[in-house]
């Protein structure tokens, strides 16, 4: 029996102004019917280009050579008509960003049925029925209504499910999933992986799973190929790769994944707190549609209290939309709060006339390293800017010297001061962001998803750097992430947020070994480990569906259904052990 897909001696070149780039070098792989192949590598390793080029989706300046056989038929260099028929009916793709890969002005139903009507020649009515069944299959609630909605009305996880529905509806033999969960929250990621697993088991669809994260691949792949700089450096069964990696690079990738059992550092908090937040509330006015629409208050942060000591790290965890970034911005006075107090070194921040003078003491590192740097400012100037703004009296030479020193400290070559952000990699740009925050010598640093946009291996390096900086300077850290495993490496205490409120706050050791709140447990169970056997056997406590709308007053009572009769009731925090607070739940 011939393989479903057989790629041999495959090469991809790109002709750029600076010369040729050899993006894929002599890659060979096979995918059998109903099998899942995981392709792992860092950004820029050529893993996506490999599949795009194989199915004739190469950019105009690219050139592919070698052989690609689909069921024994050579498709490299096949006519566009043949490739169009093949893509969409035999082989389909799921891309990383579910928002940009759906057409914004077409209703979901129209987009799903488009491919079906094109490839299967059936009537519109029949296509509609099939589309609805498919949405049910990928577990989208109220499927009939969803078909009439536009992509922007759906959440990210929902959109990715629509993408999967589109990719599956024509009944393909092979689905190419290119980082399908990278842009999603961990809990949603777990749901999506669950659907892909069902596809493979129930419909016997072969899946090529492309990802930078070994954890994503672990539970799904039968075989794994590791790519680096365009070359396949190691391939084998999932168990071989995960339990007995031969190549150094594979070992490196595996080591970079935060271990679920890594011991959190002991807490060192003593004395008066540096920062105390009391009953902080931030709400945004949201106007209903129409001329006379009512304005309602969206409570992004709905009464959060916590304190932070010098040298301590507080991990803040929650899904998108739980208010963690809003909380950070309100604490740093980048957003106006609506109620509550933020006390810095014993003094209410409201009492300070000019908050700008205090910015030297608390700084922030943002999620997207490229977006948070001015594209038209050389990085040297970006790094020096806070220092110039906050201490304008400093002589130029001193500013330059300090910029160079901090660049060296965060692992950047000081000779790069004239480079622009687009000339650096994501990890390097995040180092620039760190340098910019650290140059003024802050007492507290807020990392708002500071490593979420980076490859797993780079994440580990940045987390290490942040930890070293903290050891040297006694910095207090608020480390925000949607991923419990990343937070664990750094945090002394962890706070779990759900829709703008704290559901659990505990020292790391307690939270990870003895989570009390069902939401924390769901988050923990969604964490992936690079252990295929455990992943396959794992029974997940999955949350179903999306986060409820924060505009719905009853959303707060999702975990306290017994109080649904009182929509204004807020679950109270109860202390279950020393320092371990849990919100009321059923």
């Amino acid at each position: 029996m011939s393989a479903l897909l057989e790629i041999t001696d495959f090469n991809v070149h790109f002709a750029l102004a600076d010369g040729d780039v050899h993006a894929v070098k002599n890659a060979s792989l096979t995918i059998q019917e109903g099998e899942c192949l995981g392709v792992v590598g860092e950004s820029g390793s050529g893993k996506s280009q490999l599949f795009l080029a194989a199915f004739g989706l190469l950019a105009a300046n690219g050139r592919a050579t070698g052989s690609v056989k689909y069921r024994g038929e050579e498709i490299l260099g096949a006519s566009p008509e043949r490739l169009n028929t093949l893509r969409g009916s035999g082989v389909t793709m799921i891309f990383q960003d579910p928002l940009t890969s759906l057409t914004p002005h077409l209703k979901v139903g129209a987009q799903i049925t488009e491919a079906l009507m094109l490839h299967r020649k059936i009537s519109r009515a029949e296509a509609q029925v099939r589309a609805r069944d498919m949405l049910d299959y990928v577990r989208i609630p109220e499927s009939a209504r969803r078909l009439r909605q536009y992509p922007h009305e759906l959440s990210g996880g929902m959109r990715q499910r629509v993408m999967i529905a589109m990719a599956t509806i024509t009944g393909p033999d092979l689905i190419i999933a290119d980082e399908p969960t990278t842009a999603l929250d961990v809990t949603v990621q777990a749901q999506i992986l669950e659907i892909l697993r069902a596809l493979k088991n129930e419909k016997q669809t072969a899946i090529a799973m492309v990802s930078h994260d070994m954890g994503v691949i672990a539970g799904l792949a039968d075989r794994v190929q590791v790519m680096r700089h365009g070359e396949i450096v190691e391939s084998g069964n999932a168990d071989e790769i995960f339990y007995a990696p031969k190549h150094d690079y594979t070992r490196l990738l595996l080591a970079a994944i935060p271990k679920a059992d890594e011991t959190p550092p002991p807490a060192t908090a003593i004395g008066a707190p540096l920062l105390a937040v009391e009953e902080l509330k931030v709400s945004f006015p949201v106007k209903d549609k129409g001329l006379f629409g009512k304005t309602r208050q969206l409570r992004a942060v709905d009464g959060i209290s916590f304190s932070l000591h010098q040298g301590e790290t507080l991990g803040v965890v929650g899904e998108s939309g739980c208010g963690k970034s809003t909380l950070a911005r309100a604490v740093l006075q980048l957003l106006p709060k609506s109620q509550g107090r933020v006390v810095w070194l014993g003094r209410d921040l409201d009492a300070h006339a000019d908050i700008r003078k205090l910015r030297e003491e608390f700084q922030i590192v943002f999620q997207d390293p490229l977006a948070s740097l001015d594209p038209r400012m050389p990085i040297g100037l970006s790094i020096a800017e806070p220092l110039k703004a906050l201490e304008p009296h400093l002589p130029r030479e001193t500013v330059r010297g300090r910029a160079r020193a901090i660049m060296q400290r965060v692992g950047l070559d000081p000779a790069w001061i004239n480079r622009y952000p687009h000339e650096l990699s994501g990890g390097q740009n995040q180092r620039v962001g760190l340098a910019r925050a650290m140059i003024v010598g802050p007492k507290m640093l807020v990392c708002d998803e500071a490593v979420s946009a980076l490859d797993v291996s780079i994440q580990a390096q940045i987390v290490e750097l942040i930890r070293d900086l903290q050891k040297e300077t006694g910095l207090a850290l608020i480390f925000i992430s949607h991923d419990l495993s990343v937070v664990r490496r750094l945090s002394h205490r962890v706070m779990v947020l759900y829709l703008g409120r704290v559901v659990e706050l505990a020292p790391s050791a307690m939270l990870y070994t003895n989570p009390r709140h069902p939401y924390t447990r769901a988050l923990l169970s969604a964490v992936l480990s690079p252990d295929p056997r455990a992943e396959r056997a794992k029974k997940r406590e999955l949350l179903t569906g999306d986060l409820p709308s924060p505009l719905d007053p009853r959303a707060q009572l999702t975990f306290l259904k017994s109080r649904l009769g009182e929509p204004d009731y807020r679950p109270k925090l109860e202390q279950v052990a020393t320092g371990h607070w849990v919100a009321e739940h059923d």
Binding site: R329, L332, L334, R356, R359, E360, Q363, I364, F366, Q367, D368, A371, S372, L373, D374, P375, R376, M377, P378, G380, L381, E385, P386, A389, L390, R400, R404, P414, A415, I417, N418, Y420, H422, G433, R436, A437, V440
Partner: protein, 304 residues
């Protein structure tokens, strides 16, 4: 230890450059833009030095050679005017010297009014866009009100109040031209201020004026430059329109716009009267376009 000392020294030698220094270097490497600048400089120089090397004055009338072709003109003509290399106009004035004098007015109007509109428009638009909310609403309503004033009516009022003069022309044109610029810049600013790097600058303690001048304005340069290269030709034409109505430049002074509109009337009998001013204007506008493109590319660090 020696090694460390050496690296430190090497580090010391890399001097920090700003976007503007980089942009100048890139602009100097852009051949089309450099050619444009050289041509513009030549035309400007000729226009300024015209009275010193030409044997004719711009208002010297000679009824013996009315609408005569230059000596080298290839086609059959009624008469020839030896010594007048571009021929003569309808009252026998030397066309070459008049084209050069016209350049003075047209270039001045084009450049000064553009610079005025650039300065006011960019600052006003960036400020309105960045501050947002009520202030933005108020500032943009002022722009709307000014927009709604009829341009010609506005110029006539200015002329009536302040008497006719050359400077008023700049004021009138500049006062109208910055409005569009302000709108473009405001729109761009609204999208840029959502970007994370603006928030990063605020978190770094940079004040509002610093954010506008260091982060917003350099990032709106691209669309602004494209608009400017469209503005300069537009302004030169506006000036000729005003002059045609008798509100701009008065005889015997002239501008390219006036020369072209005169030449267009005589196109069939004396084509050189249209050809030469039009040629100068076209070359100038091309140069402006090349310079504009060059500036846009030079100010975009991604384009190397």
């Amino acid at each position: 230890m020696i090694a460390t000392g050496q690296t430190l020294k090497a580090v010391e030698e890399v001097k920090g450059r700003s976007l503007w220094v980089d942009a100048r270097r890139r602009l100097l490497r852009n051949r089309a833009a450099m050619a444009g600048m050289i041509i513009l400089a030549l035309i400007t120089l000729l226009a300024l030095l015209a009275p010193f090397f030409l044997p004719f004055a711009y208002d010297e009338i000679n009824y013996d050679i009315i609408a005569c072709a230059p000596n080298w003109w290839p086609a059959e003509t009624v008469c020839r005017a030896p010594g007048h290399i571009f021929g003569t106009d309808g009252v026998g004035r030397d066309l070459f010297v008049r084209v050069l004098f016209g350049a003075r007015v047209s270039l001045a109007v084009g450049l000064v009014a553009t610079l005025v509109s650039l300065l006011i428009g960019v600052l006003y638009g960036a400020t309105a866009g960045y501050l947002g909310g009520r202030i933005d609403g108020l500032m943009m309503r002022i722009v709307d009100v000014l927009y709604s004033l009829p341009f010609v009516f506005f110029v006539i009022i200015l002329m009536v109040i302040f008497d006719r003069n050359f400077i008023l022309l700049f004021v009138a044109i500049g006062a109208v031209e910055w409005l569009t610029m302000a709108r473009i810049v405001r729109g761009q600013t609204l999208s840029i201020k959502q970007k994370e790097f603006i928030e990063a600058a605020r978190a770094g303690g940079v004040g509002t004026p610093g954010i506008i001048t260091r982060h917003i304005i350099p990032n709106v340069v691209g669309p602004v430059m494209v608009y400017v290269t469209l503005t300069v030709p537009g302004l030169i034409l506006t000036e000729s329109f005003l002059s045609f109505l008798g509100l701009g430049i008065q005889e015997p002074l002239t501008s390219w716009g006036v020369l072209i509109s005169d030449g267009a009337d005589q196109m069939e009998t004396a084509p050189w009267m249209l050809l030469f001013p039009a040629l100068f204007m076209a070359v100038t506008l091309f140069s402006f376009n090349f310079i504009g493109d060059g500036l846009r590319d030079a100010l975009d660090p991604k384009d190397r």
